[in-house]
Symmetry: D2
Subunit: 315 residues, 4 copies
């Protein structure tokens, strides 16, 4: 097959012909119909991710049709339209058994721990656990875009933030993760405040459902602004960017017993972050990390897409 391959970190990838993949006993090979690109790919290409082994084919945001299935695969057959979350579980470790494939101890990540979807075909392991059926209504391009930012936001808002209808949700950063979070939280009945540095992004955030916005430019007191709008602070706040400033603000702008969800990655020098711990204690704040989403949890998200309650194609 043809694949986009790089042989050195930071060097231009080239289209090459490589051997076609074959499915493992528990895996499938997918004919790639659509594939996306995000900042994580850049990290992998630059050599920041220890999972990537050279030579490498990137690509973790994908959708396609099953071409072949291993002999232990029971739920999938040739022709099925599918996508995958960017973190696949092994299905056999304690975390997978408890339903937490997103923090599996032996994660399968196409485009990182194995060759990815910048190719005609991609092999996905543990297919019964990790594949997700696409509803007919969902085109491949939209489906490919779900697997990384949108599902990450779904888990952050729904399962980790446990947002309740009528709560105030502050979303720091209006990139792909942030806009997804705004759409999802709004569709759950929450009132969302969008925070970013440009009015254009904030205007778009309003079309995704935000009922209030804060432009953080020029040393704006973001925490004060959120507390004023919400009369005391957000119930839930997420750092959708991944920066020490947004992380700190997202905790500091909570009301008593509020919940912060850290979604934006904190890498390199930001791997350790300062938090307002005295406030965390006095107001009993809660801080949650959030990491991808399990394949089985796509079901509820797909149900919302099917009835038009979520419209990821707008993003």
């Amino acid at each position: 097959m043809k694949a986009v391959l790089f042989e050195q970190f930071g060097q231009p990838p080239r289209v090459q012909t490589v051997p076609d993949p074959t499915p493992s006993a528990e895996g499938v090979v997918i004919k790639v119909e659509a594939t996306g690109l995000c900042r994580s790919d850049w990290h992998g290409w630059m050599g920041h991710d220890p999972d990537v082994v050279l030579p490498h084919v990137p690509g973790h945001e994908l959708a396609g049709t099953v071409l072949a299935a291993g002999r232990q695969v029971t739920r999938w057959k040739k022709g099925d339209r599918v996508t995958v979350p960017f973190v696949g579980g092994c299905g056999h470790c304690h975390e997978c058994h408890s339903g937490n494939h997103q923090v599996c101890e032996q994660q399968f990540q196409p485009g990182f721990t194995a060759w990815g979807s910048f190719a005609e075909y991609v092999a996905v392991d543990y297919a019964d656990t990790n594949l997700v059926a696409l509803p007919d209504e969902l085109d491949f391009a939209t489906a490919a875009s779900l697997g990384c930012r949108f599902v990450t936001s779904f888990r952050a808002i729904v399962d980790q933030g446990r947002v309740k209808p009528g709560e105030w949700v502050a979303v720091h950063g209006c990139g792909g993760v942030g806009l997804s979070a705004i759409m999802i939280a709004s569709a759950m009945g929450a009132n969302v405040i969008a925070i970013d540095l440009t009015d254009e992004k904030l205007a778009f955030a309003r079309t995704m459902g935000a009922v209030a916005t804060v432009n953080a430019r020029d040393g704006k007191d973001v925490v004060g602004a959120v507390k004023e709008i919400t009369k005391g602070g957000a119930h839930v706040s997420i750092d959708a960017l991944g920066h020490p400033a947004t992380c700190f603000n997202s905790i500091a702008n909570l009301r008593r017993r509020g919940r912060h969800v850290q979604v934006g990655l904190m890498v390199g020098e930001h791997a350790r972050a300062q938090v307002p711990m005295a406030q965390v204690i006095a107001h009993e704040l809660e801080i949650y990390g959030s990491h991808g989403m399990q394949a089985f949890r796509y079901q509820d998200m797909m149900a919302m897409i099917r009835t038009g309650k979520l419209t990821p194609q707008q993003l």
Copy 2:
């Protein structure tokens, strides 16, 4: 003041002049601006409710303005626009302390345990705990209608059913409680199935957000229909009517690990109800009673009304 008063159970009430109420130390007197009527009033008037002492003034669905406040009241003053839940907490028992005023051990229920709102003025006890401020956007008539069926449904769906976005919610009975539940669950991102006996009600249920309907007339297999629509059963189901048949169906139509919420009252000969206990065990079903809603939980509901996510005036 003038009040609608009855002196014998089941006898016509008459408008009479009675002494004006005065606030208790922790209570207020409210000038009634709007008051509603529901089936509970009929039970009270018929003598089915042991709390009602003759002569009696009914009325528990009310909104108005504070006229006078007792000397221990700290949060309310003359002129405040307010409503109350139909169950008021004493503020001092174990249930109230734990935030569960809706099951207070010494409940204050205007129109039942005390004279109600079919009068110019009504006294409400424990005002700091039980009064709810009305947003300017909310007119008195709509506010009066919230305190019984709408808030009961809010608690049943949000706090007891803990509905999650994308879940299937079956609502048995499309009266006031059921239609409220349909609106609320839909506003939270759930997909709702409405069940009733007439196509007119089901058509209206669709305008409230239901995405599917089942007409239960003529021995229809409701459980089978819900299981087919939902591909396995509802995640959450509520009996909004209060009848042995709807109660049973609402449990039986759940998928594995589904949650039933009993909202419709089961009185008299229905006080004991048959449930499919073998299925409850094998599928680990969960059954919850739901009873009113605490005043402090109106906050999130009002936030949804303010941003148009809930529109109780449509009901």
Copy 3:
């Protein structure tokens, strides 16, 4: 191998020589070192269980050593000391993916859906999901006794009842399930009331940790007795027997917002059970079914056995 086999329901089983089992791709064969017997076996032998196909080898409470493992098995090898829960999950359905193997849609139950452990060897499917390692401290006989009543009680008390330290727990029925529940709830810091019909059983219940007892003989008002001891009702109550009377009492003796867990099976004419639904609503009681326990949840139970906090060998 030699196996205890019956060819007709209700007819005496006989020891026969049958072919040795071989492991499926995802399964293992276990050399049986200990096996138990309980009422469920009697139901299977009588033909009450539609899963049982003739001729049949019973036995679902087992411990032994792995003799051979299928080629897809990654976590187990020959010689490992193991046991299994009485319900095995398929590992591939929605319930299994969400960590709820105990309500798997295609359950594997040795001794019911397949030949069981009254034999020299037994085949167990989906071994990576369903096998449990035995700590060295735990002998085979005790381990075999865990898989049915003890783990059922562990899940009922810990995961379904979510008992908290200092709560009152009422246990109706002091057979194997009930005594296990008493030991487990006491080890979690709860205060347990044991209820049964004989003083001998109640005396033994005290040695398992019960701090109070109620003898239900001769029309005793069990509900009144529990409410008096607990000053208002139990926080959590379980029906460990499976009878309409214990089920009803176990719900009726709860305090406001209390939780009932139904563990004892309700079969045949008891499949439908009457519950005090008016009380469920007014006091917002919660009712949970409980069914076995997932293999991965043995970990915490084994940790308690290892440090002597649980001593199932006493039962």
Copy 4:
């Protein structure tokens, strides 16, 4: 009455005669029978606490008998044996209404926001909400010692950490808070690792229930040691000391999806603390602040003391 009073921060307090307190309408005056002292008193005396107004009488760990009750007090009368948590709720704010008096918006703290218990009598406001009845078994000296460190640990372990039986709990710091946490977690069936700098404290921690210990002296790799003992990390970990190093270790030594509870205060230059945020994200760790405990939650703790499951007099 006689009271221990200081007129300048950091100056020796003196015993003086001051006017006897009188109860507010919702308050009581308690005759002090026992009073304790802790590091918080030192902070108050040094002027670190902005709530303290001069001249001041310290004392927040107290037990005694009710001497007089205000006219709105319904639950208490002269002669009742009582204690109080160190944070009292106002009973009327959103946090109090939701059952979270420990983070009340207008906290009453005897010895800080008002004169305390280093006196013959102390006034306590909002008595119906904040007083706790002492069981006959509990002497005043032990009761006085509960209100600060022991109840703080109870909430941290039971309600915030939500420790489950059989889980591994790491306790960083074996002072009063840490030893209490060890006793409580052990009484709930958890396996506890105690961490401190001296073998004497660790030996005492074992008598409180710890099943393993780590001496953190001399640059010991505490995180590695906890991960080795627990085969992967603690399920729950608490920083009972309040120091950047113990806070960081207590998060870093968690297993995937583990929960850290910050109990030890982080003041002054430690008000902001560094956390391993990359690990929080990748492993979906959870961080909770914990602050005192509500009066109504003493009930379960007292139930454990009454049946000997907790023995605070040993501390």
